[in-house]
Symmetry: C2
Subunit: 380 residues, 2 copies
């Protein structure tokens, strides 16, 4: 698809690295979305590390780096001692997984972390002190003062002053927050969101590869009439759904729900936006869906909303009422974009200041690995 | 469980039939819930007919009638010519399915219809004219002037003047409406619902037995890496979810969503309540879930709400925050009650006039067959 983009400036320079455009057929894309890193292994690229390379997101980091031809001079794969010594074939090279230690980061410019909150809490500051810039997929630092929490299409300016090889931690938001805000931010810019009521339909992948494996195993067992194996969740997941497994907080919301509230406030820089969320795990493999009800500062038409969404980077619209065709998790699976549909005036608001929409996004990709790699691109 | 109820009056008479109490362990139940019909086949019971006995709901009618020992003097099983002649064993007897004709209802006191809207439209008035009282599970007459639309726990008074063997049509509400209102009505009585934002997680059973079969078949195919068979829905259902398959209406809401709005207005007799709904089909077999956000006329505490729900007939509470244990579709499957949990103050409303909750109910049972049989009990 390279070279087919219609926007101007096929080669541009951003922070010292070569960039070229990348477009997707006839989809409307913005200038920012068209920028992409050109080369892969290159002597003047940054030295990269992936922490937690054996996990679902760690594996996706590798795929996304390759898909986007992310420039790198060196790649270090880090994991626990248990995985150290295993070999990974990637981009024509063979890489041996090394054990993550306090000495891992001296020669690393950018580290992508996805090994859980406790690993991030311990090793991200060590990496940063060693001059490595960390993009952290865990929730460990998301709400920390001074740590940018970034969706590149939404608040790239939060990365001002942060760059590869200079140390510092950048937090990748929670998957549900990213997927919601990809769709809602263009509408917020259009008419000012006052209140948001979200119900999620979340995939197994958010709980890791083991949860995906358990869903598959349980589904086979259920179909065969066998007893259900329960290692990850305390109840049956196959042909069932349940309130999100994150810990409860004092107000009766679980942590996943509170992440949507607090992270949205931080990313938008607007702590007064009213948000309530109900997060539910459904028997889907890797893409989240979200039903979102929005109240705006002013009245908004469906046409205006669809126009704003059609211009938004990283957003695709599937909204064919005649064919009853709207986004599904399978549409979004393995895709970069967040898909939006069911865009309609909220009939419960006579003041026309409400919209309902339905959003699907790949949890591992835009909800995690892709967003982190996009942040890394902005560090170059 | 009979005889263990703590409420008074173990035997009562209602409209000429013997009733006895029925309770479920230590669950709080109301007097109304405890009333149940005692006998099964009895000379002074009504003559019954089931129209559409071969469908998922038709089959459930038979199970529920037996479970509740519904009194009957005669039972007629009606279906299309295709199924006529087949034999059904039930309650110790053998019944031959008869073809539904205009002459089917002359000797019938109560007919339970679940054979689709067009069959109801044609045959329910014929049955009524013949003196048979129809309880119709289709949407054909729900919004018709003069046709009671009834959830027995919510608006039994709408049945005033209607009784078995006198003709007339009573409509059974849509499954999603019944399940929502079982949970929301006690709260509406408590503090007056002003606005309701609902997102549903709807089971295959709402689209009939064939949809359940297709979900199972597709799931096997997906696990085996085979091509997916698509007869009922135009896209993959296994490990996927999609906007409800009912037809779109002019305002961008589908018919299922508009049923929730209009039926709630009729059942509560309050056409001004603001409601928006997003209806989604999830890969679950037979119980619906609903995420419900409520705005009230006054502030409501979680304690008040739980107290009201604990006293509500047909409602069970699963709301264990410490154990992160809330209702799931599997909890509700094959159960009479609607299960409610995640009851919490809506933090997006500083005026404390909001609650969020999560509700699960069996689509075939309380969402269809059980509710219809409960209506029939009130006709005796």
């Amino acid at each position: 698809m390279q070279g087919t983009c219609s926007c101007s400036g096929s080669i541009a320079s951003l922070r010292g690295y070569q960039l070229q455009q990348r477009c997707r057929g006839s989809r409307v894309v913005t200038r920012r979305q068209c920028l992409r890193v050109q080369a892969a292994k290159t002597a003047d690229g940054p030295s990269l590390a992936i922490v937690g390379v054996t996990g679902a997101v760690g594996q996706e980091f590798l795929r996304v780096l390759k898909e986007r031809d992310f420039p790198y001079s060196n790649l270090k794969l880090l994991a626990s001692a248990r995985s150290a010594g295993r070999t990974v074939e990637w981009d024509g090279g063979s890489y041996t997984i090394e054990e993550l230690t306090e000495q891992s980061f001296g020669d690393v410019d950018i580290a992508l972390f996805s090994a859980g909150g406790s690993i991030s809490k311990k090793f991200a500051p060590i990496a940063s002190d060693a001059g490595c810039t960390v993009v952290d997929n865990s929730s460990a630092f998301r709400m920390s003062e001074g740590v940018p929490l970034v969706i590149p299409e939404v608040n790239p300016d939060a990365l001002k002053g942060v760059s590869a090889g200079k140390g510092g931690i950048v937090a990748n938001p929670n998957c549900s927050t990213i997927i919601a805000l990809m769709a809602v931010t263009p509408l917020h810019r259009l008419a000012g969101v006052k209140r948001m009521v979200v119900s999620t339909y979340q995939a197994a992948s958010g709980a890791g590869q083991a949860a995906m494996d358990e869903l598959e195993l349980q589904t086979r067992e259920a179909l065969d009439g066998k007893p259900i194996t329960q290692n990850i969740f305390p109840f049956q997941y196959a042909f069932n759904l349940f309130s999100h497994n994150s810990p409860m907080t004092g107000n009766g919301y679980n942590e996943e729900e509170m992440k949507m509230v607090k992270e949205t406030h931080k990313i938008w820089g607007e702590p007064d936006i009213a948000i309530t969320a109900t997060c539910i795990r459904v028997p889907i493999m890797r893409a989240h869906a979200e039903s979102i009800n929005l109240e705006f500062e002013r009245d908004v038409s469906e046409e205006e909303a669809l126009e704003a969404l059609s211009k938004a980077a990283g957003v695709s619209i599937i909204n064919d009422r005649a064919a009853n065709r709207f986004p599904t998790p399978l549409d979004a699976s393995n895709q970069d974009d967040v898909y939006v549909g069911r865009v309609r005036r909220d009939i419960s608001r006579p003041d026309s200041r409400g919209l309902d929409l339905f959003v699907c996004g790949d949890q591992i990709k835009k909800g995690a690995a892709l967003n982190a790699v996009q942040i890394a691109e902005l560090l170059l």
